[in-house]
């Protein structure tokens, strides 16, 4: 039993909701059944969805989708293919992943990946373009204009 160490009312409700949210954060790759999460948190499904939305501004399902798309952005920025990314973040179909990604991000996963790789390349080759000069000067970085030589 957790100690009543919190100074605000109904802290035990928050602890249960946070536990459910962290469960989604950790298991987004799997086929999560939101009914099970509600039961695990000792809430009815209706009460769970309502409380979750009040706290996080999204229903549990919307939150799960947001987490998956967020993780997909990270994977697309690394060396994952679109198919790998799709399955690694918990989608079953590349078509539905691509459609949802475009709806949320405004561009297809391949277009997003192309742009993010171009940006990474520019950061590697010309990092000073990404740093306000006042900071770069304070650090003494403006003297090393050719970063390919010092890396």
């Amino acid at each position: 039993m957790n100690q009543p160490d919190s100074s605000y009312p109904k802290f035990y409700l928050y602890k249960r909701m946070v536990k459910a949210k962290l469960f989604i954060d950790e298991n987004y790759k799997d086929n999560i059944d939101l009914n099970n999460i509600a039961e695990e948190a000792y809430f009815s499904k209706f009460h769970f969805i309502r409380l979750f939305k009040t706290i996080y501004g999204k229903t549990p399902h919307q939150y799960l989708t947001a987490i998956r798309i967020d993780k997909a952005r990270l994977l697309l920025g690394s060396h994952h293919t679109i198919a790998q990314t799709c399955y690694d973040v918990g989608f079953d179909s590349i078509t539905s992943f691509t459609g949802l990604f475009k709806k949320i991000e405004g561009k297809t996963p391949s277009e997003y990946q192309r742009q993010i790789r171009e940006r990474q390349e520019r950061i590697r080759n010309t990092p000073l373009q990404f740093i306000p000069n006042c900071f770069a000067e304070q650090k003494g970085w403006t003297k090393n204009r050719n970063f390919e030589e010092v890396l």
Partner: protein
């Protein structure tokens, strides 16, 4: 007239550990992570819903910014919790407090009703502290 702030610095003891704290515990996004030569790195993060405010996690190192003893003095001051760097906002303070505590974030003050706001105070991995408040609920 000045209209916006788009960069701000937080001085940290170790950038790798700060990355772990701000990205993996607080959930901030990496904006730019650029190696700047041996042992040097430009690392900025943004709050999840504020992608145009870059927070530079600035390592305290002896060099042009901190000359001579200044770096050591600055490190000591940061470690002692001298600096409060700002106020962050969340949707629900109680839930965020419980989540961050579960992730090991140290709080100097739990959610408390003050005359000015409902707030908590937490420390980063270096010793910098921040106020955490919540968006006004309608």
């Amino acid at each position: 007239m000045i209209t916006r702030m788009n960069h701000v610095s937080i001085f940290v003891l170790n950038q790798e550990s700060a990355y772990e704290f701000y990205v993996n515990k607080l959930g901030f996004k990496v904006h730019t992570d650029a190696p700047m030569g041996p042992g040097m790195r430009w690392l900025t993060v943004t709050p999840p819903e504020q992608p145009d405010l870059e927070i530079s996690l600035m390592a305290i190192e002896e060099g042009m910014m901190f000359k001579g003893e200044a770096a050591k003095q600055m490190r000591e001051l940061v470690k002692k919790g001298t600096f409060g760097f700002g106020v962050f906002q969340c949707n629900d303070l109680n839930a965020t407090y419980e989540e961050l505590k579960a992730k090991g974030v140290v709080f100097k003050k739990p959610p408390t009703k003050e005359f000015y706001a409902y707030e908590a105070l937490f420390m980063d991995d270096s010793g910098n502290w921040f106020s955490l408040g919540e968006k006004e609920k309608k």
